[in-house]
Structure formats: C-alpha cells, structure tokens
C-alpha cells in the first residue's frame, strides 16, 4: 500500500475522519479504566492520604504536554525538509492541545501542591519548566496567527518550534540548576509516593487515555484546518456539500 498517497490533504481528510472516532472511543475506555484504578482501586497513600490521587491526572497531562511538543517539532521538521503542507497542518493541529495539556499540568500540579506542600506554587524545577513550555506553545501559536501568508506562517513557526525543541532540555537543565542553587536539596513538589504496581497501572492507563485523546483531537482539528486552507481546491466544495453535519 502506498502510504505516501495520504500525504496529500485531499486523501488524508477522509482517512482522518474515519480514524478519529476510534481513537476517541479508545481514549474514553482507557480514561474510564484509569479513573477507576486511580480513584477507587488503588490504595490510599500513607503520607499524602487521598490527595496523591491527583498524580493520575497530573502525570498524564505533564507527559502529554512534553510528548506533544516533540511530535509537533517532528512534523515541523518534516514540513521543512519535504516542503510538505500536510505535515505543517498537523503541527498546527497539535499545538492548541499541547498548550491545553500544559495548562492542565500546571493546574493539577498547583492543586496537588496545596494540600501536600502547603502552597499552590512553589517554583520547583518541573513546574517552572512546564510554565516556560506553555510560553513556548503560546509563542508558536502567536507567531502563526501574526503571519497572514500561510506558507510563511508554516515555515516560520516550524523554525521556531525546532529552536524551541532544542532549547527545552537546556531550559530544563538550567531551571533544575536554579532550583537546587536556591533551595538546597529541595524535595520536588511532584515527587511521587513509592509506586505500588496498582498506581503504575493507573498512571499508564491515564497516559494512554490522554495519548489517544490527543490523536483523536489532532485528527479532527487537522480536518478543519485542511478545509480552511485548501478551500480553493475542487474537492473541498464537494466534501462540504456532501457532509452531513460536521463529521
């Protein structure tokens, strides 16, 4: 099967439409299982009580926020190397979801910090790096918005995403340095209690749920982006007339 056939927006559009609901369904199933494990089945932690259960959503959102950035940077690299429109659209589709997960990681981290460490925000290395990651996402989205011409927007934001991707480990390293310098041997705000197997299972299930959710959303969003950007192509008009509802 010639996979490169799907590199054209016109043929990817229907494929994405068929795939998205399956990923969405999988996400819902994994989320249900993960929430059951995390909120009901897993034992209460000795030191943190039931507050530790936040870890099940916090870790999933934090992992996804970083993973999505990498995937976004990957598609940006592809779009630059092969001058591929669809790859750039894929990156464009991923960014808002990545930013959302970063914001959720910050919110859940703050809600976890208050009962366990007494403060909503404690400038620890991981949370501070998450905050900077949020700025990187927002910068990418803002640059895209600011440039009218779509191909220039694609390429410029791709360069920005790649520069950002290279800098993320440097930024994380420097923030960790800063944190240990100023707080001594600080206990990380997000240090997890020693993991029982059940807890790992729960975290894995939630991470998978978040992953499948992201794929479903990205596939759906890229469809809207394809329609918007390819609106002058003949097939788009046909697809719009043929569409029943918005699926």
């Amino acid at each position: 099967m010639n996979w490169f056939r799907f590199a054209s927006p016109a043929s990817f559009y229907p494929l994405a439409g068929r795939l998205a609901p399956w990923f969405g369904g999988a996400a819902a199933l994994f989320a249900a299982a993960g929430l059951y494990v995390g909120l009901v089945a897993a034992p209460t932690d000795a030191t943190q009580g039931d507050a530790y259960r936040i870890i099940f959503v916090h870790v999933a959102t934090a992992w996804m926020s970083m993973f999505i950035y990498l995937v976004m940077a990957f598609w940006c690299a592809v779009s630059l190397m092969f001058n591929a429109r669809l790859a750039a659209m894929m990156a464009q589709a991923l960014a808002p979801t990545g930013a959302l997960f970063t914001a959720l990681a910050l919110v859940t981290g703050a809600l976890w910090g208050k009962p366990t460490w007494g403060t909503y925000w404690a400038w620890d290395a991981r949370m501070t790096s998450e905050l900077i990651l949020l700025f990187l996402y927002l910068g990418y989205m803002a640059l895209r918005q600011a440039i009218d011409e779509p191909r220039r927007a694609d390429r410029a934001s791709a360069v920005l995403a790649l520069v950002g991707a290279i800098n993320v480990p440097i930024i994380y390293f420097s923030v960790k340095w800063w944190n240990t310098l100023h707080q001594g041997a600080s206990v990380s705000l997000t240090s997890a209690p020693t993991m029982a197997a059940m807890m790992l299972t729960g975290m894995l299930l939630m991470a998978l749920a978040a992953w499948f959710y992201s794929i479903a959303i990205a596939l759906t969003r890229v469809r809207a982006i394809i329609l918007e950007r390819e609106r002058h192509a003949g097939w788009v008009g046909e697809a719009a007339l043929a569409a029943r509802g918005a699926r």
Binding site: D50, A51, R53, L100, V107, I217, A224, G237
Partner: protein, 65 residues
C-alpha cells in the same frame, strides 16, 4: 470505600475533584469548540460553493444531525 468517602477523598475532595474536574471539563470543551469550528467552516464552504443548494439543503442537513 463508601460513596461519602469517595466524594470527600479523605478531606482532599476539593483538590482531587478539582483536578479531575478541570481535566474532564477541558476534554469536553475542546472537542465541542472544535466541532463548532468545523461546522462553521463547512457552512461557509457550502455557501460559497452553491448558495442555492446550500440554503435549500441546509435545513435538511440540520434535521439529519
């Protein structure tokens, strides 16, 4: 675990349900906004493509949703 214990989460109910709730809300709002955007784009495309058919078919489409 009883229902009461489940809701209160050892006294940390606000934090645990706040976190889970924030994620749940976000993951409902995002798809909903996306659907709206997609529908808006489709509507505007239909209008451009064939104003007469779009207006006539618009009612039928709404009904089949």
């Amino acid at each position: 675990m009883s229902v009461a214990e489940f809701v209160s989460m050892g006294g940390y109910g606000f934090y645990v349900w706040g976190s889970v709730g924030a994620c749940a809300v976000a993951m409902c709002v995002e798809p909903w906004l996306l659907r709206r955007q997609h529908r808006r784009v489709l509507r505007s495309l239909r209008l451009r493509r064939d104003p007469a058919a779009a207006r006539g078919g618009h009612v039928a489409v709404e009904g089949t949703r």
